[in-house]
């Protein structure tokens, strides 16, 4: 059943012990690293953000035509990273692809934390973040609601829905595992597991319902994934700005999101495997093989759409588009960044054509990192850059991020890592029951068909 798996020799008991071991058994070094990242997040993110809220958005490098800087870049980037997780779970669940099982939890967790950063970046980029709740439709004495034709309201709904669904999806998978581990665990973990599993036992009816629910979720989340990132792209495409107003944006953003998401999953798995050698039993070369193929295919799709983005601009041939493209493609340092982006996202993933590379250290670490960098650059080259060359040349201005923006970006990345590391210490990062399923149903007499 499980292609390429050498797990049939494992017993259910091993699985339980391995996974609970990941949660509990870590050296002090792990906690120190996690703590360092946490402290880094506090220093690089919390303090500058507090400073920004106190002093004003002026501490960022934004200026009059370039009102959207790297906060929005990060926002879009993290939405992208968030995409792979649920999509891997959902799409591969519907198709019942077995290699999904070992990696789905990790991917979903990544989605969850990425979405946290997405929400965070919306608040960070606001001028008056303390009034963020005005963007939600809720009844107040003011009698005023929200503007339902604003792309930002679509965002509120899309990202709100996506966050909720991702949490629910993650939780669904967790329930049986938590119930199972609550019998092994002790102390506060036991209490937490017992509380969160709400008395799950694993009766036939429960499993049936759980399976059905996952199926429905998958059916919901597939269109949701597409809609979320296209809605994010509408934030830009629904404007008039040259460089923003493009019909190609929805597929372009979705493809890019998946590309960065898969690269993120790849990187995350590689790092986890290094941190927990026991995971090598579960995440094998076969996984790298499959994900690598995904990255390759998505990179080709992305490259095509990038080409089309430029070509549509050239075909339009308006002064606005031409100037925008000139600025993006032929002005240093953006020209160099563009070349770097093409190298990272188009040229580099081609190495995945070679099967061996997919499982190599280069393929596991270097390529995904560079793909992520390339995808970040893609957003950078779209968002602030287009605003630098709007309609009235008199107002053309360049944009350069300040230390606050860079620090907040790095700090949030650190926060992501430290939160992920903490999550691993609390919840099983490999889906217990799914791995057991992978091993197969124990039979005494008859062979499993």
């Amino acid at each position: 059943m499980a292609e390429g798996h050498q797990k049939s020799s494992m017993s259910y008991k091993d699985v339980n012990e391995d996974i609970y071991g990941i949660i509990t058994r870590s050296g002090i070094g792990y906690y120190i690293i996690c703590g360092l990242f946490g402290a880094g997040a506090a220093v690089l993110f919390i303090l500058p953000w507090a400073y920004q809220i106190y002093v004003g958005q002026g501490v960022s490098g934004l200026n009059v035509p370039v009102f959207w800087g790297i906060y929005l870049v990060n926002f879009v980037f993290w939405v992208g990273v968030a995409h792979a997780g649920t999509l891997i779970s959902a799409m591969l669940f519907i198709t019942q692809t077995p290699w999904r099982r070992a990696i789905s939890r990790g991917a979903e967790t990544m989605t969850f934390f990425a979405l946290m950063l997405v929400t965070l970046f919306i608040f960070i980029h606001m001028g008056r973040p303390w009034n963020f709740y005005w963007t939600f439709p809720y009844p107040t004495q003011r009698q005023l609601w929200t503007n339902f034709i604003s792309p930002l309201t679509f965002d509120v709904f899309a990202i709100g829905t996506y966050t909720t669904s991702s949490i629910v999806f993650l939780y669904f998978g967790l329930v049986p595992d938590l119930a199972a581990l609550s019998h092994t665990a002790s102390g506060w973990r036991k209490k937490l597991y017992e509380f969160l599993s709400f008395g799950w036992r694993g009766t036939d009816a429960q499993w049936y319902t759980q399976n059905k629910a996952c199926m429905f979720f998958s059916a919901f989340i597939m269109p949701l994934v597409v809609s979320v990132h296209s809605v994010v792209s509408w934030d830009f495409a629904l404007s008039l700005v040259p460089g923003y107003s493009k019909t190609v944006f929805a597929p372009y953003f979705v493809t890019g999101a998946l590309l960065s998401g898969f690269a993120g999953v790849l990187l995350m798995l590689s790092i986890m495997r290094e941190a927990y050698p026991v995971m090598k039993k579960y995440v094998t070369d076969y996984h790298y093989d499959r994900i690598g193929l995904f990255v390759l295919v998505l990179s080709l799709m992305w490259s095509y759409l990038t080409l089309m983005e430029v070509v549509t601009g050239l075909y339009a041939n308006t002064s606005q588009e031409i100037e925008h493209l000139k600025f993006k493609l032929a002005t240093p340092p953006y020209m160099q960044l563009f070349i770097l982006m093409i190298f990272c996202n188009t040229v580099l993933p081609l190495v995945y054509i070679v099967r061996k590379v997919r499982g190599s250290v280069f393929g596991r670490f270097v390529v995904p990192v560079l793909v992520l960098v390339g995808m970040w650059l893609e957003r950078y080259l779209i968002i602030p850059n287009s605003l630098s060359r709007k309609f009235l040349p008199w107002m053309w201005q360049d944009y350069a991020p300040t230390w606050v923006e860079i620090s907040i970006s790095l700090g949030t990345l650190m926060m992501f890592i430290s939160m992920f590391m903490m999550f691993v210490k609390v919840f099983p990062i490999i889906a217990l029951f799914e791995v057991k399923e992978d091993i197969g149903v124990p039979m005494k007499n008859r062979k499993h068909h």
């Binding site: 609601w145 503007n147 829905t161 629910v168 119930a179 199972a180 059905k212 269109p223 399923e437 124990p442």
Partner: protein, 169 residues
């Protein structure tokens, strides 16, 4: 009529299913408690099943769709502020909103349905054996008359059950 239940833990699924067949034939109710989903095997053995979850989901989705339209249209009319020369009741953006609310409500109602159908959260203590959390497969035989308990235990033993527990109701 005092009824009692028996929980037996099996090592193998096929033996468990055989035991379950016997119980079914004897007219006793049974539940299979397992660490992994056995839907495929059970359906193969006892035929396809259905439950109410789809209705929850469907209800949620339809509700969400309607909610999206009501919210976007209704709230626009409550406080009329024209913007961008677009109509107050604009259909396209509303479709986008209701698309999301359809999914949101569908998901939330599915979650609700999941809890309802799984009888969660559990209020009272339910029969369970710690081995099931690891690698045991439990067969909970229910609706057994008290005097039939030894018979049940015997049948389960025959099919290779490991631990057997009587459960007082």
């Amino acid at each position: 009529m005092a009824t009692n239940s028996v929980l037996a833990v099996f090592d193998h699924v096929d033996t468990l299913l055989e035991a379950a067949h016997r119980c079914k034939a004897s007219g006793w109710g049974f539940q299979i408690i397992s660490p992994i989903p056995l839907g495929h095997e059970i359906e193969h053995e006892f035929g396809p099943r259905k439950n109410w979850l789809r209705w929850f989901t469907g209800f949620g989705a339809i509700n969400g769709f309607i909610f999206g339209w009501v919210v976007a249209f209704g709230l626009s009319v409550l406080y009329i502020l024209p913007r961008g020369g677009k109509p107050i009741l604009a259909a396209t953006p509303t479709l986008l909103v209701s698309y999301e609310t359809t999914i949101l409500f569908g998901v939330l109602w599915t979650l609700f349905g999941f809890f309802v159908l799984c009888r969660m959260p559990v209020i009272s203590k339910k029969p369970f054996h710690p081995r099931i959390a690891v690698d045991g497969f439990g067969l909970l035989v229910e609706g057994v008359r008290e005097d039939n308990i030894p018979l049940v235990e015997k049948i389960l033993k025959e099919h290779g059950a490991g631990e057997i527990e009587r459960i007082e109701s």
